[in-house]
C-alpha cells in the first residue's frame, strides 16, 4: 500500500487549496452541529420534564394543556381511580391544575411577551417533585402572590419583590424555583382558585396530574382511565406527554438535515474540483507509482484517502466551532408554550457530524480517485 505520509505531504505542499477545501467542510459541519445542538437542547427539556410515575389527564382529544378543559365531576372521577399514591397524612397525590398562556407587556422593551402561568393547589409540590424553591418563599393562597421559574426570571427580567399585572390584579413575586432544567422553569406558579376567579375558569381546570408509586403503576392507571366507562378523557404518563411536545421539533430536525445535505453536496463538488486538479497535476507521480508496481486500486485508495483526510481536518474544526454554542441558553416555542433551553452538543451529534463529514469526503473523492485508474503510465510520462 502507498504510505499515508505521501498523501499527507501532498496536502501540506498544496496547503492553500487544502485549507480552502477543508474550510468548506468546516463551515458545513459547524452549521450542522449548531442546528442539531438546538434540536437536542429543546428535546432534552421536553423529555426530562415529566416524571415517569406521574400521569397527566387531559380532556378527550387534547394533547396540550392550553386547550384542555376538565370539569369538577371529571376531577372527582379521576381521583376515584385505583393506584393513585397518597402522602403520609393520607392526602391523595392528585393535583388539579389550570395552565394559561398569557400576554405580558414588557415595559422595558414595549412589547408583549408570552408567559405561562400554572394555577396549583399545595399538593402540586408533592406531585411535581422536581420543583424546588431556591429563593424567597412559597406563595400564600388568595394573597395575589406568585413564584417564578428561573427561566422566567431571566426572560422577563423579574426578581423577588417585583410586582406584575396579570388580569386586573397586581401579583407579587415572592419566590423563585428551579426544576432540574425542565419546562416548569419557564412557568409562573400561583394559587389555583385565585387564578380561576381572575380568568373566568371557576369549575374547570386544564389538567389533573396524579402521582403513583412507580412507572409500572402509572401505566396501569393510564389503562384504567382509558377503560373507564364513566369518564371520557385523555390520560398519559407525564413523560409521554412532554415527549409528544418534543415531537414537534421533528420538522426542524428534518429541515436541519435537508439544509446540511444541500450544503454538504456543495462541499462535495468543491472537494471533487480539488481532487481532479490534484490528479491532473500529479499524473506523472501516478505513472511512476504504477511503474513501481503499485496496483491501480492501491493508487485509487491513496487518492480517496487524501479526500478523506481533508474531510477529517475540516470536520474536526467544524465540530470544534460548533461546540462553542454548547450550554448557550435561549428560549423557543414548543407547541403553545415557550421553553428555556440550552444548546446541547451530545456525543451522538458529534458522531453524526463526524460521519457526515467523512461521507462527504468519500463521495467527493471517489469519482476523481476512479479517474486515476484510467491513467496510462507511459502516456503520462511523455
Amino acid at each position: 500500500m502507498i504510505p499515508v505520509k505521501y498523501n499527507a505531504r501532498n496536502l501540506v505542499v498544496r496547503w492553500k487549496t487544502t485549507l480552502m477545501t477543508a474550510s468548506g467542510f468546516t463551515l458545513v459541519v459547524a452549521a450542522l452541529v449548531v442546528m442539531l445542538a438546538f434540536v437536542e437542547g429543546v428535546q432534552q427539556v421536553c423529555t426530562t420534564s415529566g416524571e415517569p410515575q406521574n400521569v397527566i389527564v387531559l380532556a378527550k382529544g387534547n394533547n396540550d394543556e392550553v386547550f384542555s378543559q376538565l370539569d369538577t365531576r371529571s376531577g372527582r372521577e379521576i381521583e376515584r381511580t385505583k393506584g393513585i399514591a397518597r402522602r403520609g397524612d393520607g392526602q391523595m397525590l392528585a393535583s388539579r391544575e389550570i395552565f394559561l398562556v398569557m400576554h405580558r407587556h414588557l415595559e422595558s422593551a414595549n412589547v408583549f411577551k408570552f408567559l405561562q402561568v400554572r394555577g396549583v393547589e399545595p399538593v402540586a409540590f408533592d406531585v411535581h417533585t422536581q420543583v424546588k424553591i431556591t429563593g424567597g418563599r412559597n406563595f400564600r393562597p388568595n394573597q395575589s402572590e406568585i413564584i417564578i421559574g428561573s427561566g422566567v426570571q431571566r426572560e422577563h427580567e423579574l426578581a423577588i419583590g417585583d410586582s406584575m399585572a396579570l388580569g386586573r390584579k397586581q401579583w407579587k413575586v415572592v419566590g423563585i424555583f428551579t426544576a432540574n432544567g425542565t419546562a416548569f422553569e419557564s412557568e409562573v406558579w400561583c394559587d389555583q382558585s385565585e387564578l380561576a376567579s381572575q380568568f373566568r375558569r371557576e369549575g374547570v381546570f386544564s389538567s389533573m396530574v396524579v402521582r403513583t408509586d412507580s412507572p409500572a403503576q402509572a401505566a396501569e392507571v393510564v389503562e384504567r382511565l382509558k377503560d373507564s366507562r364513566s369518564l371520557v378523557c385523555n390520560p398519559m404518563t407525564e413523560t409521554e406527554y412532554y415527549s409528544k411536545q418534543a415531537a414537534q421539533t421533528e420538522m426542524i430536525t428534518a429541515a436541519a438535515w435537508v439544509i446540511a445535505w444541500f450544503m454538504g453536496i456543495g462541499a462535495i463538488f468543491g472537494v471533487m474540483n480539488t481532487m481532479f486538479a490534484a490528479i491532473g497535476q500529479r499524473r506523472k507521480d501516478i505513472a511512476v507509482l504504477r511503474i513501481l508496481g503499485f496496483k491501480p486500486y492501491e493508487i485509487l485508495i491513496s487518492f480517496l484517502l487524501e479526500a478523506i483526510l481533508i474531510s477529517i481536518v475540516g470536520g474536526f474544526l467544524g465540530i470544534m466551532i460548533g461546540m462553542v454554542v454548547n450550554g448557550f441558553s435561549r428560549s423557543t416555542a414548543v407547541g403553545s408554550r415557550e421553553v428555556e433551553f440550552a444548546f446541547k452538543v451530545t456525543q451522538t451529534t458529534i458522531t453524526f457530524a463526524a460521519g457526515f463529514s467523512i461521507s462527504m469526503g468519500i463521495l467527493g473523492g471517489l469519482l476523481p480517485a476512479l479517474s486515476v485508474v484510467r491513467v496510462q503510465p507511459l502516456e503520462a510520462l511523455k
Partner: protein, 390 residues
C-alpha cells in the same frame, strides 16, 4: 473588442468542462438552499416590518387561546373608521373518531361576507365559488396542499371531531379550492355555521379590522384599549405586523440560526468559487504568459478571470433558484405532498423574481471569490513561465 473578450471568457470556461461543471453545480446547490432558507426568514421579516398598519388584530388581553364575546364584535365593527372586518375562530379536531396526529386539522372560521377582502391572496377566488360559499352554510374552501395531503375532492363531505371541551363534531362540505400561496394548507369555514354546529355563538378567537387610514388605526387601537381595559374580558389591540412579530419572537432562536446558516452558505459559495478559480489560475500560467506577450495588460487578464467566475456564478444562481421556484410552486399547488422535509422550508412560496436576484447574487459571489485569484495573475512573469517550458 468586447465581443472578442466575451468569446475568450467562454472559450476559457469550455477548456476544462469538468471543472466548470463541478463549480457550477456546487453553486447551484448552495444557491438553491440559500434561496429556500432566506425565503423563510425574509417572508417572516417582511410580515413584521412591512405589515399593513391599517389592519388591526383584536384579541383577549390576557389569555391564549383568546375568547372574545360575540357582543363585542358588533360593537367594534360599527366604530367610525372601520372599513371592513372579519372574525377568526380556529376549530381544531381530527378526521377520525380515534385521534391520529397526521389526521389532525385546524379549520379557520371567518365572517363569510368579507372572506376575499380580509384575506390577502383570496381576491382571485372565482366568482362562482364565492357565490356558492355565500349560499352554502356548511361550505369549506380548502388550500391545494391540504386537498392533496388528505386526498380530498370538491363536493366531498367530511366530519371534524373536535378536540375541545365539551366535545363536538362538525360536518363540512368542500365547495372549492383556494389559490395556493400562504393559504396552501388552510381550511376556511363560515363562522355562522360553526357557531350553530358547535352550539357556541358566544365567542370568537379574534377580530381582524381593516381601518380607513394608518392614523385612524392608531387612534382606534388606543381608544379600544382604553375602553375595554376594565371590561371582562379586557381586549388587546395591535397592528397585524405587531401581532406577527409577537408570534415570530417565540421562534427568534430558530430565525437566528437560519440567519447564521445563510451567512455560512454565502461564505461556502465564495470558498468553492475562489478555490476553483485559484486552481484554474495556477494551471493556466502558460496561457496567461502568452496573453501578456500578445499585449494583454494584467488588468485585462484579471477582468477575464473575474468575468469567468461571475458568469458561472450568475448562471448557476439562476438555475439553482429556478429549480427551487419550480419545487415551491409544485409543493404549494399540491403536486408535491407536504412532508417533514418540506413542510418547514417550503411553507412560503418562493417568488419567480428570486431567479433574477439569485443571478445577481451568484455573480456577486463570483466577483468576491475571484478577486484575489485574479490579482494573482499579475505575478505571472512571462520569462519565468517560458524558461520552465524551455
Amino acid at each position: 473588442m468586447l465581443f472578442k473578450f466575451i468569446n475568450l471568457v467562454f472559450k476559457s470556461l469550455g477548456r476544462n468542462k469538468v471543472r466548470t461543471a463541478l463549480t457550477g453545480m456546487g453553486v447551484i446547490v448552495l444557491v438553491a438552499i440559500y434561496a429556500i432558507v432566506t425565503n423563510v426568514t425574509s417572508t417572516v421579516k417582511s410580515k413584521i416590518s412591512g405589515g399593513d398598519q391599517t389592519r388591526l388584530i383584536v384579541s383577549e388581553r390576557w389569555t391564549m387561546p383568546s375568547q372574545i364575546p360575540s357582543r363585542y364584535v358588533s360593537e367594534i365593527a360599527k366604530l367610525p373608521g372601520v372599513k371592513n372586518f372579519t372574525t377568526w375562530t380556529i376549530f381544531v379536531g381530527f378526521l377520525d373518531r380515534i385521534p391520529q396526529a397526521d389526521r389532525q386539522v385546524a379549520v379557520l372560521s371567518v365572517h363569510p361576507q368579507t372572506l376575499r377582502e380580509m384575506h390577502g391572496g383570496l381576491m382571485d377566488l372565482p366568482d362562482e365559488v364565492y357565490e356558492e360559499w355565500l349560499s352554502t352554510k356548511d361550505a369549506v374552501l380548502v388550500g391545494p396542499g391540504m386537498m392533496k395531503k388528505m386526498n380530498w375532492h370538491i363536493g366531498q363531505q367530511f366530519t371534524v371531531f373536535g378536540a375541545r371541551f365539551p366535545p363536538v363534531d362538525v360536518q363540512y362540505r368542500i365547495i372549492g379550492t383556494i389559490p395556493g400561496g400562504e393559504w396552501a394548507s388552510a381550511i376556511f369555514c363560515r363562522q355562522d355555521y360553526l357557531a350553530d354546529a358547535s352550539d357556541n355563538s358566544g365567542s370568537v378567537n379574534a377580530i381582524l379590522l381593516s381601518v380607513e387610514s394608518e392614523e385612524r388605526a392608531k387612534q382606534l387601537a388606543s381608544e379600544l384599549s382604553k375602553e375595554y381595559e376594565n371590561r371582562q374580558p379586557a381586549l388587546k389591540i395591535e397592528t397585524e405586523s405587531a401581532g406577527v412579530a409577537r408570534f415570530a419572537s417565540r421562534s427568534t432562536a430558530v430565525l437566528q440560526i437560519i440567519d447564521a446558516v445563510v451567512a455560512i452558505l454565502l461564505i461556502d459559495m465564495v470558498i468553492i468559487l475562489s478555490n476553483s478559480i485559484s486552481i484554474s489560475v495556477r494551471e493556466r500560467r502558460v496561457e496567461m504568459a502568452v496573453l501578456k506577450v500578445l499585449g494583454f495588460q494584467p488588468l485585462h487578464i484579471a477582468i477575464m478571470i473575474i468575468g469567468e467566475a461571475m458568469f458561472v456564478g450568475g448562471i448557476a444562481g439562476m438555475i439553482g433558484t429556478g429549480i427551487v421556484c419550480s419545487i415551491s410552486t409544485l409543493t404549494l399547488s399540491g403536486a408535491i405532498p407536504l412532508a417533514k422535509w418540506n413542510s418547514f422550508l417550503l411553507q412560503f412560496p418562493v417568488p419567480w423574481s428570486a431567479v433574477l436576484w439569485s443571478g445577481l447574487l451568484g455573480a456577486g459571489v463570483g466577483l468576491t471569490g475571484s478577486v484575489f485569484p485574479a490579482m494573482a495573475t499579475r505575478k505571472v512573469k512571462v520569462s519565468d513561465v517560458f524558461a520552465r517550458i524551455a
